[in-house]
């Protein structure tokens, strides 16, 4: 009895977005990464095209972050040297560098100027070969100033600028357009706002193939299921033909996972049955990432080098085409 294979018939597909530019393309990256572009649900090769594998980005901060002490052994000698840190991230398997310009936060005492940020971006680009994402400090006015300077400094490199939100997207979109960069649009775990923001950004003139969506993914254990369902719905929307749901999705797995108690707690702070912090923390991050991949994550931001290894290995296994 041959079974009739069930296939959903989709008319749409995800938008492919290219990050980075090589020398031939006007930049200096050693390679580019392609994200999205699927015409089926995650990892269902028998049903449609999955042209690109999920990409791993790793965090680099411009100031020393307050991270769990377990990161000391990996980043301890580069906390205050973002350029060296970026190179290290590449060694740890980062396919994309995600530079967070937290030091430009205007509330900090020695808040970095847009010029300092632009110089740092240039230095990171000079020292690394990976495509780059730059996130501003998160304060709207400063974001605009900083990202504009960064967009100019990185002209031709096709980096991604973030994070644009519903109430603060114009400046960042303008900077992205000027430098022909990509833009990350963030919506608060809400499919309607995701779509609305994409409409607003593209209406400003940013082409849809330069947009990446951050649906505000949450950590394992703390509302990840909301992100999971939002992502599943967005992918479905793209597949049934809604152009404004097609951009690839970035998942901030590392920072979200590590902001929670479970990966961090040691000794008495750890709950019953949690076991040792090191392996628990690595798995907490890896599982946050892996779960979001099942909902259609295209680009995963990660932090722990061991978690990166695990997730890459799982992506390898998931990318073996299934067929009937």
């Amino acid at each position: 009895m041959p079974v009739e294979i069930y296939k959903d018939k989709f008319t749409g597909k995800g938008q492919e977005v290219i990050l980075g530019a090589t020398k031939e393309q006007g930049g200096t990256r050693a390679y580019t990464v392609k994200m999205g572009g699927s015409s089926t649900l995650p990892f269902l090769f028998y049903e449609g095209e999955i042209p690109n594998r999920p990409v791993i980005a790793m965090e680099v901060w411009d100031i020393k972050p307050e991270w769990n002490p377990c990161f000391e052994q990996y980043y301890g000698d580069v906390w205050n040297d973002p350029v060296a840190w970026a190179k290290k991230a590449e060694e740890y398997g980062a396919e994309v560098i995600y530079l967070r310009l937290q030091g430009a936060d205007p509330e900090l005492e020695n808040s970095k100027s847009p010029e300092e940020c632009a110089k740092l971006v240039k230095d990171v680009l000079a020292a690394t070969g990976a495509p780059l994402i730059v996130e501003g400090p998160g304060q709207p006015d400063k974001d605009n100033d900083v990202l504009q300077a960064v967009a100019e400094a990185a002209a031709g490199e096709n980096i991604a600028l973030g994070v644009a939100e519903k109430d603060n997207y114009r400046g960042i979109a303008a900077a992205a357009m000027m430098g022909r960069h990509c833009i990350i649009g963030r919506s608060p775990v809400d499919i309607n706002i995701l779509k609305q923001l994409n409409i607003m950004i593209t209406e400003m003139g940013v082409p849809i193939d330069k947009v990446i969506n951050d649906p505000m993914t949450s950590s394992l254990g703390y509302g990840i299921e909301y992100s999971y369902s939002t992502m599943e719905r967005a992918r479905w929307g793209a597949l049934i033909g809604d152009k404004m749901m097609t951009p690839p999705v970035i998942c901030l797995a590392g920072p979200e996972a590590w902001s929670k108690k479970e990966p961090n707690a040691v000794g008495e702070d750890a709950g019953p049955g949690w076991g040792d912090q090191r392996d628990r923390g690595i798995m907490w991050e890896a599982m946050t990432a892996a779960a979001l991949l099942q909902a259609g994550g295209d680009l995963v931001l990660m932090r722990h080098p061991e978690a990166v290894k695990l997730v890459k290995k799982q992506i390898d296994a998931l990318m073996v085409p299934n067929k009937y």
Partner: protein, 440 residues
Amino acid sequence: MGLTGLAIFKLLPKTNCGECGVPTCLAFAMALAAGKATLSQCPYVSDEAREALDSATAPPIKLVKFGSGDKVLEIGDEQVIFRHDKTFYHPTGIFIEVADNDANLAAKVEEINGISVERVGQKYELDGVAVANASGSADTFRAAAEAVAGKTDKAIILISECPTCMEAAASAIAARKPLLYAATAANYEKMVEVAKKVAAPLAVKGEDLSSLAELVAKVGYKELVIDSGARQISQVIADQTQIRNSSVKKRFRPFGYPTIAFTTESDPAMEVLEAQAFISKYASIVVLKTVKTEYLTSLFSWRANLYTDPQKPIAVQPGVYPYGAVNADSPVYITTNFSLTFYSVAGEVEGTRIPSYLIAFDTDGLSVMTAWAGGKFIGEAIGPWLKDSDINQKVNHKKIIIPGGVAAIKGKIEELSGWEVLVGPRDCTSIGSFAKLRLS
């Protein structure tokens, strides 16, 4: 799902006798289609009609139970492809495989019993033990099954493709209603006999989807769990998706049963990630080998998240919760009883390492801003409650920290409660720095 009211109506007597409690057959048919009535309410329905209606109104995936006592595991009976379509009902059973000839069998079962993870007010445990007939011997298998049954009250899966071995082990622990794994094309006749004899559910294992469907049709037994035989993660996901889609969307009966999946990765971390993918993509049971609690903590959490009902806000019991060794000087925070909000705030409050009280204020499970907009997290509600709350007996100060997003309710709370209000950060992740600046 199932038949429309009109399709059901065609099968009814159309006498409009009203004995079912509904005035007309058409109205009754509509009630049936909506799941608001059962066919047994109609005394005159014909046998043929009953059979047709029963099979049409049966759930797309059968509910199967195994195990005994208060450890009966219910699996299957799922109705949707995506959790956001409705909800997933029966969380994946997580089992650990042990070999029947393992010299440390008893210790391993102890270890499985001992896995107990507590977080955010929930307790997670393994669902059971899968005993594999690695020895190939019926005696060893039976002895192992008895030993496991003696050591744990959790559900048991017996793994053997040898009917004689299966009969020996299954008969010995029949009272525990184990799941028998597995009937194959080579052994299914005898395996079904064993399953019938011990009244236990039977797993059916195919070589691929087609051979699985064929085998299910042949066994003629309804208490089934199915396995397409795939083991590579990407093919397992494909097969599980096929099974779910065929049963739910096309009512393909041979696939209308719960499923079982086995991990193959030898590295425990990779194995747990593999299990995660199976849980995400529809496996009703996942069998793995590692009992590393550091990893299982994540796996349990993922299962709990995935099977959370998206239709209802999840709430914690309203009340005053202590974090750390609280005393009369401990700070007091207040937030809503929407569990996502509450546990996020609780994690941050705990992270300040200053023993503190956190109040989960009853907002019917709404988040801070939604509850504020809806009039449930406002001074008029919080003030009077705070005035009479037993927190007044627990601390010797009257200072309460409220979420920064609702700074506007400060005045009303102060007026109605006599407490002083400190406006905390908007985002709970800033509670740590807030506490450092303001509380120490």
